[in-house]
Assembly symmetry: C2
């Protein structure tokens, strides 16, 4: 839906609510697609939401809650009467229901669980962390038995009412419910009706276990163009499946986290404008403080070269340019390496190759930048020695920044730290201090201070 149409619809819902016409507001919302319903709904006030949600039919209400950020969903859920909430949760996908109940007070979750048709299923899902295969999978799937014929399989599909996306790849199990193969709906309808599915299926099926990290699941599905990924326990018993639409959300969420971490902020858990000032401050102040303290290092370097600074005050002019260039070159390198790691172009085994590649890039950049810096410094301060100092420093700083910038993310990911954490601001601050040290050391040698 276009932004403009969405805003008009929102205005109509608000008008209806202001004149207390809940029925009209409800019917406008029920006519929309889930993502649009959630959008409109999230723009209403808290009390409007709480009064409207019980009137919307439970299936639509379930869609709306599924589309919300986890925390927003929990906040609205606790305000609903338990009977209404139970009816809505009954309509949610088991994996989404488990995520929601996990965010509610335990006693409330207990009561709702007792009232659910699929209570047992949901309960078993709550135990898996949100960011693993177990937390992502849905348990509402149809498993075909190996001995069934194509005809029997299609009969089973006819009798089954899942969400559309879970039906296009069907997984085949043996008598002990262990995963033995995969077959597509298309293969089933194309096959002669009496063919056993065991003959149609592809036994070489890609699967994950419940504790697999969501990023690894995403990588597998993307790499092999899978629409769904089966999740099994340690005995290969089929427990659930992950569908491609959940995967797309995971990829987006991971990209969001990476970008926010690169900017030096802990990722937010919910929509930006719904996140309070104090929460945002808390997510940022840690890094800001750490980097501030680390920057005292740069201060110390500056302090210990006081004498040189006083003798040749012109040196100070070039400090921002030199440390800036080092930090920028370092950021460029880490950003490239982090992405190459994320998409699987390189891994730890390539560390030496990557480092050598970057040092060559650093040397090339260094020669060009040094020449330009030399001319610039010469025209500015008319001192050959200072211009030479600036040029030599920038050369060394670029080599250093690209070298460190290439190895830092690789080492981080090797020892199990998210490489985005050591990049961006961290990288800049590190190279600031060392860059300044390089600059003054070169100055001491060339200017014989």
């Amino acid at each position: 839906m276009e932004q403009a149409v969405l805003e008009q619809t929102l205005a109509r819902v608000r008008d209806a609510l202001e004149s207390n016409d809940l029925a009209t507001a409800t019917s406008i919302i029920e006519a929309l697609r889930p993502a649009d319903q959630a959008d409109i709904f999230s723009d209403l006030d808290d009390n409007q939401q709480a009064s409207l949600l019980p009137r919307i039919n439970p299936a639509d209400a379930a869609d709306i809650i599924e589309e919300m950020y986890d925390q927003d969903a929990a906040e609205i859920a606790v305000q609903l009467p338990l009977s209404v909430l139970t009816r809505i949760v009954n309509e949610m996908e088991p994996d989404e229901a488990a995520d929601l109940l996990d965010d509610l007070p335990p006693d409330q979750a207990e009561i709702i669980l007792a009232g659910l048709k699929a209570g047992q299923k949901v309960k078993s899902l709550i135990s898996y962390p949100d960011d693993t295969a177990g937390g992502l999978m849905t348990t509402s799937f149809l498993a075909l038995q190996r001995r069934w014929t194509a005809e029997q399989c299609i009969e089973a599909i006819r009798a089954w009412h899942p969400e559309d996306e879970t039906i296009y790849y069907l997984f085949v199990t043996d008598r002990l419910n262990r995963l033995v193969g995969v077959v597509s709906l298309r293969q089933l309808i194309v096959a002669p009706p009496k063919t056993p599915v065991g003959e149609l299926m592809d036994p070489d099926v890609i699967y994950v276990t419940v504790d697999t990290d969501q990023e690894d699941c995403a990588e597998l599905m993307q790499r092999y163009d899978l629409l769904s990924l089966p999740v099994v326990d340690e005995n290969r018993v089929l427990l659930g499946i992950i569908t491609i639409d959940d995967l797309v959300d995971v990829i987006q969420a991971e990209a969001s986290e990476d970008i926010q971490r690169l900017g030096g902020a802990e990722p937010l858990d919910r929509a930006y404008l719904d996140t309070g000032i104090l929460t945002i401050t808390r997510k940022r102040i840690g890094w800001l403080l750490l980097l501030f303290i680390t920057a005292t290092l740069t201060g110390y370097v500056m302090d210990s070269f006081q004498e040189e600074l006083q003798t040749a005050v012109a040196l100070a002019i070039f400090i921002p340019m030199l440390i800036g260039t080092g930090g920028n070159a370092g950021s460029q390198t880490t950003a490239t390496i982090i992405r190459a790691l994320a998409v699987g172009d390189i891994d730890w085994g390539d560390a030496l190759k990557v480092w050598w590649h970057e040092v060559n890039v650093g040397a090339t950049l260094g020669v060009v930048m040094a020449a330009i810096a030399f001319l610039l410094a010469l025209t500015w301060v008319s001192s050959f020695e200072i211009a030479l100092t600036v040029a030599v420093s920038i050369m060394i700083i670029l080599l250093w920044a690209t070298g460190v910038g290439s190895l830092l993310p690789l080492v981080a990911s090797r020892i199990g730290i998210d490489p985005t954490v050591v990049s961006g601001p961290v990288m800049s601050t590190l190279v600031d201090a060392t860059g300044l040290f390089i600059y003054f050391s070169v100055a001491r040698m060339i200017l014989k201070l």
Copy 2:
């Protein structure tokens, strides 16, 4: 496939090639899945690739080329005999074939086009830019006629041999081939055989036109959890469909671009280690130079406050901390805002709200950081005036950095510039110069210099 297994397989292929056993190498590769085939293949030398590819069966060779980065694919393609290449391109998806031919010398592409079964289709696809719906879509799809019955539709599906993923949502057209609805395979098999598909289909189908940007396509498919998206011309005639696996690649590629731009480097077009030193240098030097020149601004500010610096050399110690903190706070803000923009949490209409939100965050951060900075400065230089200068400056710098950091990406996206371009290093450099100016101005007032 596990990394370790992949490496063993690569070693086996290399051994076979070294003992000139092309048949064994070929059969090892043919037994793998496409993504693994491409991985192994890309690790071979250029001449090994060129000698092996003609021996691999054309369908597998087509898969391998489809999985490669565009430039790598073009480089290997030009080395193949035209007859071999034509056979391989014949097995490729029309959209992938068009991308490849577009990267080949025009005369070579012309000859291959003439030899293709789907030459006309591929030719029409070449005219669409790679990053639009037209460039992403495949034209090999099955359109159902509105007047057909469910039975006739299933018959048509049986007679049709597309890639699996294109079959699960079927689009319905009228006599003029205009898109009129969508139906799922499941609906077809569940319906009574004689039902016309016009009664089964959902007429409210989401579609895009050929010139829609790939990011917009991705957003639509993600928002509405679509497995495929139909592409039409200005008369709503169905031209092709975009499938979810292409979309996942687009999302990853866009995230890669954003992250590299945030790091201040132009995105690379191919795998990192395959990108030459000079290409990487070229992608980075532009920003590096521009930022270096911009940093002279900071130099100028420093230069014009030479007198103050000489009178109170202790001021210099805090320069790196102050400008670093401004740059870091700015990066944190832009990273958050860019992501909120990308996932649709905010847009231009929220600019004022976003700015106010950030100014509040900036004020909160400012109070905390100012207190810490005051104590730190006091113990370090034992001057109340200098400590006060540092504290007041950091407060103003944080307000300024968060304010600018929130508006810059919003303004950029409003005037049609990718917001990642004005963030990261650009933001830092901007805040460096202005931060220094704020610092010295505050110093002048407090220290009465």
